[in-house]
């Protein structure tokens, strides 16, 4: 078994650029370097044609049209533009936004800013499985609701929301309410159809699907036309919604990444699921007191988020030093708070501190999974031998019955 270290199993944070993507990008750095907005010479035309082709590839991944793609610097910008742009443009029609507690910070922090500007925001609480029901969403939508933003797949626990049912429920309650989804984690991994899901805006990012960092998109429906106030003013690029010279090589790479993801989604999903299940079985067949966070059924094929009771997450990461994964432990975040996503699911802080997120990707192999399983099992066993909580648990002492002194 020959695995090369370190192993990257943190594909929710980012992904390597696929060599096939790099290849398509290269000429646009050197010989075809034109500004896509230059209308009067061949350099500009070549760049523009490449960008238009990429728009088509990006749109095709989600069932939209090339003209509906607004290119941005990434999904954080796309999320900001969707929330703030829509809220600002339609402010005469309402003041209410609905979203989910487990959204990415780009959504949550944008919503908080809108609250400070006088908008009302409802933060829906998902169930223990991480999923929000269409009924829950519909109940929150009222006549003043401008926008609902529900992510496709969660970046920590990988659960996939039922956007088709949610979209139908929103529109049945208030046809004027716009429906946005941060689809960053799900795009290219699970099918998206903006029409079937009744979406009006979709945020995408290239670097989560084997494209380059620094480029993303907001898909904005044209029929019926969705409007928004731009956040960046300038030369009126992107139909006035996002000014700024287009990053042609990155956009070309983004397009290629979408094309590859669409073409290989079905076979790749099967392969990912098999690897993920191998990882899951390998771990859970050898260790007791492990808890999967979020629904196992509605989950990205490459995601496994699991708590190893009585073993603090950061100490486990330290043991897995040749394996890149991440933890919901407070110690790994700047805030010293455990994962807000796990908290929203009702996972107790003591278990949240012990969670590890595995994000499998296109370049992971079976041998790597086997190596990680062995290392995880060995490390958890070692750290449990070091854990007073594990000892108490073994002695039949209920950890919850002890009077702890929070510090």
């Amino acid at each position: 078994m020959a695995v090369q270290l370190p192993i990257f199993m943190d594909n929710h944070s980012t992904t390597p650029v696929d060599p096939r993507v790099v290849e398509t990008m290269v000429p646009y750095f050197t010989t075809m370097f034109g500004n896509a907005a230059s209308r009067n010479h061949v350099f500009g035309w070549t760049a523009e044609a490449a960008v238009e082709a990429a728009r088509g590839q990006i749109a095709a991944l989600i069932g939209g049209e090339a003209k509906e793609i607004v290119l941005t610097s990434g999904a954080t910008e796309a999320d900001n533009l969707a929330i703030k742009g829509v809220a600002s443009f339609y402010r005469k029609q309402g003041n209410h936004i609905v979203t989910l507690e487990t959204e990415h910070k780009a959504i949550l922090d944008s919503c908080k800013r809108m609250q400070r500007e006088g908008y009302e925001v409802t933060y829906l609480k998902p169930g223990k499985d991480g999923l929000v029901t269409p009924e829950q969403v519909a109940e929150a939508v009222g006549p003043k609701t401008l926008l609902v933003s529900i992510m496709l797949a969660n970046n920590e626990i990988g659960v996939v929301q039922d956007l088709a049912a949610i979209g139908a429920a929103i529109k049945a309650k208030n046809p004027k309410t716009l429906f946005h989804s941060d689809a960053v984690q799900g795009a290219g991994k699970v099918p998206i159809d903006v029409h079937e899901m009744k979406l009006d805006l979709v945020s995408l990012s290239a670097h989560k699907m084997y494209g380059p960092k620094g480029v993303g998109a907001l898909w904005v429906r044209r029929k019926p036309r969705v409007r928004l106030d731009p956040m960046i003013d300038g030369g009126g690029h992107e139909r006035g919604m996002r000014s700024g010279t287009l990053a042609v090589p990155l956009i070309v790479g983004f397009g290629k990444a979408c094309e590859l993801a669409a073409a290989e989604m079905e076979t790749e999903a099967l392969r990912m699921r098999a690897l993920r299940d191998r990882l899951y079985r390998g771990i859970t067949s050898q260790l007791t007191e492990t808890y999967v966070n979020g629904s196992m059924e509605r989950r990205l094929p490459g995601n496994l988020n699991i708590s190893f009771a009585f073993v603090e997450g950061e100490s486990l990461l330290m043991a897995l030093k040749d394996v890149a994964v991440s933890s919901g432990s407070a110690c790994t975040s700047a805030s010293l708070e455990p994962s807000y996503v796990l908290r929203a699911l009702g996972v107790g802080d003591e278990l949240a501190h012990t969670s590890i997120r595995f994000g499998l990707g296109r370049f992971n192999t079976e041998d790597e999974v086997d190596y990680v399983v062995d290392l995880v099992v060995k490390s958890v066993n070692r750290l449990r031998e070091l854990s007073p909580l594990w000892e108490m648990h073994q002695d039949g002492i209920d950890i919850a019955s002890i009077q702890w002194t929070p510090h």
């Binding site: 100490s315 909580l389 510090h407």
Partner: protein, 126 residues
């Protein structure tokens, strides 16, 4: 975050891991922290004629917490109770090169030493 070599060394080869019988006359036990905060330390001392002859620990926590408690057991062995009581968390911070976000680990280790001594003293106050 990058760990100092000393933290890694203690994490990989923790000293004095284990458990003494809590009921034993010569033993003092300190249990500090909380599972919900992500760290719990249990530090035990064995005392003979006012001198700590042995110490053991178990810790649920990050690598720095494990290293802090491992180091604490090393430091107090051979000390009198009075000497051990004067140990300050800053000594642990210095020895392990702990970054600011990990200072609480050293505080917890200091608390664990004090709690173990208190427990021993309480049991012998009668």
């Amino acid at each position: 975050m990058a760990y100092s070599d000393k933290v890694i060394e203690h994490y990989e080869n923790p000293r004095n891991v284990g458990t003494f019988d809590k009921g034993d006359e010569e033993i003092g036990t300190g249990l500090v922290g909380a599972p919900a905060c992500g760290d719990v330390m249990r530090l035990q001392i064995k005392v003979k004629d006012g001198v700590i002859t042995d110490a053991k620990f178990k810790t649920f926590g990050c690598g720095s917490a494990i290293a802090s408690s491992s180091l604490a057991t090393e430091m107090i062995k051979g000390m009198t109770l009075e000497q051990a009581e004067t140990i300050k968390n800053t000594q642990i911070v210095e020895e392990l090169n702990l970054p600011p976000v990990k200072i609480h680990c050293s505080v917890l280790a200091e608390d664990a030493i004090k709690a173990a001594i208190d427990d021993y003293k309480k049991r012998h106050a009668r």
